[in-house]
């Protein structure tokens, strides 16, 4: 068997090792990508970049992602690289790109796949480990049937045929994160086959794919996760076996995607589907999901049925990385072919912000996994009843829910998708709670569609954008399973009700949101706080508005003359801009917290029509 440098093994085998300083993947080990990032700044030849200096040998303080990206951008600029516009990077004339994807997702289960040890996240290292997890001699795997529940749900969400009989196989390779020397997976007879998912324009597919495109799923298989390696200073690696044996599913697509954006949309949609059926622990960027992509190109006039030689890019850790890596690899392969060369079947890597993929190992370095049916494990037989029960209890799939949000709640496709995909589907539950509480204030049995749309648009805006302004990362909001966060949905609904009824200003509403976030509203009694702090909107009287208007209109005859020209029919359009200029002046002059821009505009317009223009006319006449 070929010998592979351990560093390379590390990079492609230690699935969740990529460092994600800043917003990505808190709490994961950060061994390989620090070196990888250092290396992408250099644009070295593939050979050099495949064998970087030992990453852990030069420990450096963590660099914030933002800074990394900035540095990379600067380096890119210095190298004379020009970024292509997103719109024109989906196709290369004369070439057809083909992409297949493999996604690994951690199943949401209480127990490991073959031992009763608990699954955990960030618990004390090596505290949930059974004898079999460590491959202690004489210990044996005991399949935990309840792991089938999320696995079958996921396969159903992917429209797969659930196989009545499936089996487990051993995949052999040596690595310290895998105590048995093999991983138990389903190679010969996976539990689910022949699925597909539909991607729509709203999912963010490439424009070239039109309104919708279907991606076939070849198979879905269950397998064991590996242990987690934690890089320490120097050459020390610590291994946490809590993760070893945690159940995963691997989703393998057919090579049916032809545009980078579509591939990224596919991964995003798979994540959304899995979280909506509660099959998966967390998303791509939290490390619960990993994507490998297979990329090949061929000339569009190639009449043969065969695809070009493909390469595999391992361990992509964000949707952007999926798209960027595919673009880079496609362009590299085309360049190789146009120069008369041949693409080598090999495994390549990608690091965040890079412009090219790098070679990890070639075909001659491929490991022969020597798949063998596990002789200790019997076949898994999945009964029709279980499938039926799970299909029934699965609830609405994301596409159905997005349609509901658009049609019944009147949201834009963008807001609907955003709500659905945030926080593993908890954000949209929160949204429903807010809307329910908000409608409760109106004490109406059947809410007219127009009013409901008004409520839900307001609620969606605040649930997405105003909430988003409070924190850097969404998980700081303290989401709970039942669709709540640190700001009780009832409190937000109360704030929005008062805002909608113009009892408070938008500025006050935002201030109250902050207070609620900081737990400064005792018992969540928003109204009491408004009372005690005197935050009620005490609007100026009509006269007071008029006085402010008069003040603002003073010495503005030139502006006002535009309104006269309109009235006289000399200009076609009402001078709305001029009106707003005057309103702005008014607002600045008056006490803002007691003014409503709408009222100010209404009063100003009235005064122009009734007072200022006639007065101008009389001036002109005299």
């Amino acid at each position: 068997m070929a010998r592979i440098p351990t560093v390379e093994l590390t990079r492609y085998l230690l699935a969740r090792q990529m460092s994600h300083h800043g917003c990505l993947r808190v709490g994961r080990a950060s061994l390989p990508s620090r070196a990888a990032i250092g290396q992408t700044r250099r644009f070295t030849s593939p050979i050099q970049s495949s064998t970087p200096a030992s990453p852990a040998a030069t420990p450096s303080p963590p660099v914030p992602l933002r800074k990394q990206l900035k540095d990379q951008a600067r380096a890119l600029k210095a190298s004379g690289y020009k970024k292509k516009k997103k719109t024109d990077n989906q196709t290369v004339p004369g070439w057809e790109l083909t992409v297949g994807i493999e996604i690994h997702a951690q199943l949401n289960t209480a127990r490991k796949l073959f031992s009763p040890a608990a699954t955990s996240f960030d618990d004390r290292p090596n505290s949930h480990v059974a004898l079999f997890d460590l491959a202690v001699p004489g210990s044996q795997p005991i399949f935990q049937p309840e792991t089938l529940i999320p696995a079958v749900r996921a396969a159903l969400a992917l429209e797969c045929d659930i196989q009545r009989v499936s089996r487990f196989d051993r995949k052999h390779y040596f690595h310290w994160d895998q105590p048995a020397g093999y991983q138990i997976t389903q190679f010969y007879e996976p539990f689910a086959k022949d699925g597909h998912i539909k991607l729509y324009a709203r999912d963010g597919i490439a424009a070239e794919d039109g309104e919708e495109v279907t991606v076939g799923i070849k198979q879905v298989q269950m397998e064991q996760d590996t242990a987690k390696t934690v890089a320490m200073a120097g050459e020390t690696h610590r291994i946490d076996f809590n993760r070893v044996g945690v159940p995963l599913i691997e989703i393998i697509t057919l090579p049916e995607m032809h545009h980078p954006a579509t591939a990224a949309a596919f991964v995003r949609k798979v994540q959304m589907l899995l979280s909506s059926v509660d099959a998966c622990t967390s998303g791509l960027e939290e490390g619960g999901l990993r994507a490998d992509v297979n990329v090949s190109v061929r000339r569009t006039d190639d009449a043969s049925d065969t695809l070009g030689t493909r390469t595999e890019i391992k361990n992509l850790s964000s949707f952007k990385a999926v798209e960027d890596a595919i673009i880079a690899e496609r362009d590299r392969q085309i360049a190789v072919l146009e120069a008369g060369g041949a693409v080598q079947g090999e495994t390549r890597g990608w690091s965040v912000g890079s412009i090219e993929t790098r070679r990890l190992r070639g075909k001659e370095g491929e490991v022969d996994y020597r798949y063998m049916p596990d002789p200790d494990l019997g076949p898994v037989v999945i009964g029709e009843q279980l499938i039926e029960h799970l299909a029934k209890s699965m609830g609405t799939l994301p596409d159905g829910e997005v349609d509901l949000l658009i049609n019944t709640f009147g949201l834009t496709a963008k807001d609907a998708l955003a709500l659905k995909s945030l926080d593993d589907g908890i954000r949209v539950e929160y949204f429903y709670n807010v809307v329910r509480h908000l409608e409760g204030h109106y004490r109406r049995v059947d809410v007219p569609e127009e009013l409901r749309h008004k409520h839900s648009s307001l609620a969606a805006n605040w649930c997405l954008h105003e909430l988003g302004k409070l924190v850097k990362a969404s998980n700081e909001l303290g989401w709970t399973e039942n669709g709540e966060c640190v700001i009780p949905s009832a409190s937000l609904a109360e704030i929005l009700y008062q805002l909608q009824e113009k009892k408070i200003t938008a500025k006050v509403a935002k201030e109250l949101l902050w207070m609620s976030f900081r737990q400064e509203i005792p018992g969540g009694h928003v109204v009491a706080v408004i009372d005690t702090m005197g935050l009620w909107f005490k609007e100026l009287s009509e006269n007071e508005y008029a006085e402010l208007a008069d003040e603002a209109a003073e010495d503005e005859d030139k502006v006002l003359s535009e309104f006269l020209r309109f009235k006289d029919g000399k200009s076609k359009a009402y001078p709305q801009g001029k009106l707003m200029f005057l309103v702005g002046k008014m607002m600045r002059a008056g006490p803002e917290e007691q003014m409503d821009p709408g009222s100010a505009e209404r009063v100003m317009r009235k005064r122009i029509d009734k007072v200022y223009v006639p007065s101008l006319q009389s001036k002109g006449a005299s």
């Binding site: 030992s54 044996q140 020397g181 798949y371």
Partner: protein, 529 residues
């Protein structure tokens, strides 16, 4: 010497006077290296629960115990203490077993002479041959010698392709391999999981039968072993079997009368020692005389069984042994290993440790297995071997009168496939038999010097010793080897003049098989049943 007398003192109060005599008569033997570790005196007060009488137990050192190390006779595990005890050891201790020691074996159970051990070869000597050393058989050679020497009443072995039966035959004791899935493998360090079984050795059939049938071992499902038959499956299998009600049997004649013993024609190979062939024929004649029927049967796939075994078992072994890497088990070979930091030079972490710490036979089988599982060889070797395995089982199912409870309807077959020597019972085909009767091994115990070292047997020659034991392993069937006398050569009457006769039964017919084996042994002049 003092160790042994201390050891025997340990459980002497439990040992009947008859047995004590048997034990002391063997004390002239040299130290035969049959133990890797021995229990200290104060250890192991048996958790005796009446009605189980106490007995001494030796345990093959690839079965986990907590009081003594579990080395598998490998450098990788030479100081390994298991954090848990194998289910079978716990089960036997609760039935009166008093652990006397862990016995030597071929490393991880791979070998036919117990010579491939990190602790040196096991041997047996014949007092009246001037200390000449003979093979004890393998891989459970240490267990067999411990029983033969009277140091244990019962010994645990493991039988993957004959590793209990072959040493039993060479040392003149009884070796029993149960139906696959009957006795728990939890705590047995696996060699080839789909073939591995826990086997028992004793000087007579009776001790084994009293534990497996009388002691109810056959009934106990172990939830920690996924290949241990479920309680429902045990009940279903037993419902179509007889003999599980108890161990009270009649006289041998009564047990044997009317039983049909099949003589597999394909087992009469050229390499078979003529003395064994004669003993086999004499045994058949004796049984016939007592009212049993002797029926020639055909097991046509037998000639492929050995090849299939030596593909399947090494394949599983190469996988099972991947965990021994010199990091968690054994010691790192730091002299030649580049270590992880020199990854740029293509350095690897484990290869040197594995090359240094595994013995040559284990390395040979790992390489063989790695090859037959490789993507280009898989279809031509591993898959074909599995197909042969099915054919072997089908051969047995056709020969036996009882159906295999793990299979569906018996497959119809073409009578023209059968050998012309097979007699038809009626127009439907030949008569189905109760048991198969055949030799355990083609030769008597060879001299140790002929099987060790560079001038010793080639690996293939050693593998041929398993030719009669492997088919039952491939089919998961129960089989027992009992000692028979063969014509003495040069007038000696000793262990080298003892061969093994093997009885094979249909799946889960273990109770009847043991009853019949006891009767046959008594009839053929064995000491006990």
């Amino acid at each position: 010497m003092s160790t042994r007398s201390r050891l025997q003192g340990l459980c002497l109060r439990h040992v009947s006077s008859k047995r004590r005599h048997a034990a002391t008569s063997h004390q002239q033997r040299r130290l035969l290296n049959q133990f890797i570790s021995k229990a200290p005196l104060q250890d192991d007060t048996p958790d005796t629960q009446p009605p189980f009488p106490p007995f001494t137990l030796a345990v093959k050192d690839n079965i986990a115990t907590q009081s003594l190390p579990t080395t598998c006779a490998s450098s990788f595990l030479n100081a390994y203490h298991s954090p848990f005890e194998a289910t079978i050891v716990t089960q036997l201790r609760s039935r009166g077993a008093c652990l006397v020691g862990k016995t030597n074996l071929d490393e991880f159970g791979m070998g036919s002479h117990s010579t491939h051990s990190a602790f040196g070869a096991v041997s047996q000597t014949l007092p009246n041959e001037g200390g000449e050393e003979y093979s004890a058989g393998g891989s459970s050679g240490g267990s067999a010698v411990a029983v033969a020497a009277g140091e244990a009443d019962v010994a645990l072995g493991t039988d993957t392709g004959g590793s209990v039966r072959l040493p039993a035959a060479y040392t003149g004791v009884v070796g029993f391999k149960p139906s696959y899935g009957m006795l728990s493998r939890h705590g047995v360090v696996p060699y080839a999981n789909s073939l591995d079984t826990v086997g028992l050795l004793a000087r007579g059939v009776k001790e084994i039968r009293e534990l497996v049938v009388g002691g109810g071992l056959w009934l106990e499902h172990d939830p920690r072993d996924p290949t241990s038959l479920s309680e429902a499956a045990r009940a279903r299998c037993a419902s179509v079997r007889k003999g599980y009600a108890g161990v009270d049997g009649g006289k041998p004649e009564e047990v044997l009368r009317g039983l049909k013993f099949g003589i597999p024609l394909e087992y009469n190979v050229e390499e078979l020692d003529p003395r064994i062939r004669d003993a086999w024929a004499a045994a058949a004649a004796a049984l016939q005389k007592l009212g049993a029927r002797i029926v020639p049967v055909s097991l046509p796939t037998t000639r492929h069984a050995l090849s299939a075994y030596y593909i399947i078992a090494p394949a599983e072994a190469s996988s099972n042994l991947a965990k021994y890497d010199g990091v968690r088990y054994g010691s790192r070979a730091s002299d030649t290993d580049a270590g992880s930091s020199d990854a740029a030079d293509g350095g690897v972490l484990y290869a040197a440790s594995r090359g240094r710490s595994f013995g040559s036979e284990v390395q040979r089988r790992i390489l063989l297995g790695a090859y037959t599982l490789s993507s280009e060889a898989m279809d031509n070797y591993f898959i074909k071997a599995q197909k042969i395995r099915r054919l072997v089982r089908r051969d047995f199912d056709r020969a036996f009168a009882l159906a295999n409870p793990l299979q569906g309807e018996p497959e119809p077959f073409d009578l023209s496939d059968l050998s012309e020597d097979i007699l038809m019972e009626n127009k439907l085909g030949p008569v189905g038999v109760d048991f198969l009767l055949c030799p355990t091994a083609p030769t008597l115990a060879p001299k140790l010097e002929d099987v060790v070292g560079a001038e010793g047997q080639s690996p293939v020659n050693a593998y041929v010793n398993d030719v009669f034991t492997v088919p039952a392993s491939l089919a998961g069937l129960p089989a027992v080897s009992i000692p028979v006398r063969v014509a003495a050569e040069g007038g000696h009457k000793d262990v080298a003049n003892t061969a093994g006769l093997q009885l094979i039964g249909q799946y889960w017919d273990d109770a009847r098989l043991l009853a019949a084996a006891g009767a046959v042994m008594e009839v053929l002049g064995g000491s006990s049943r």
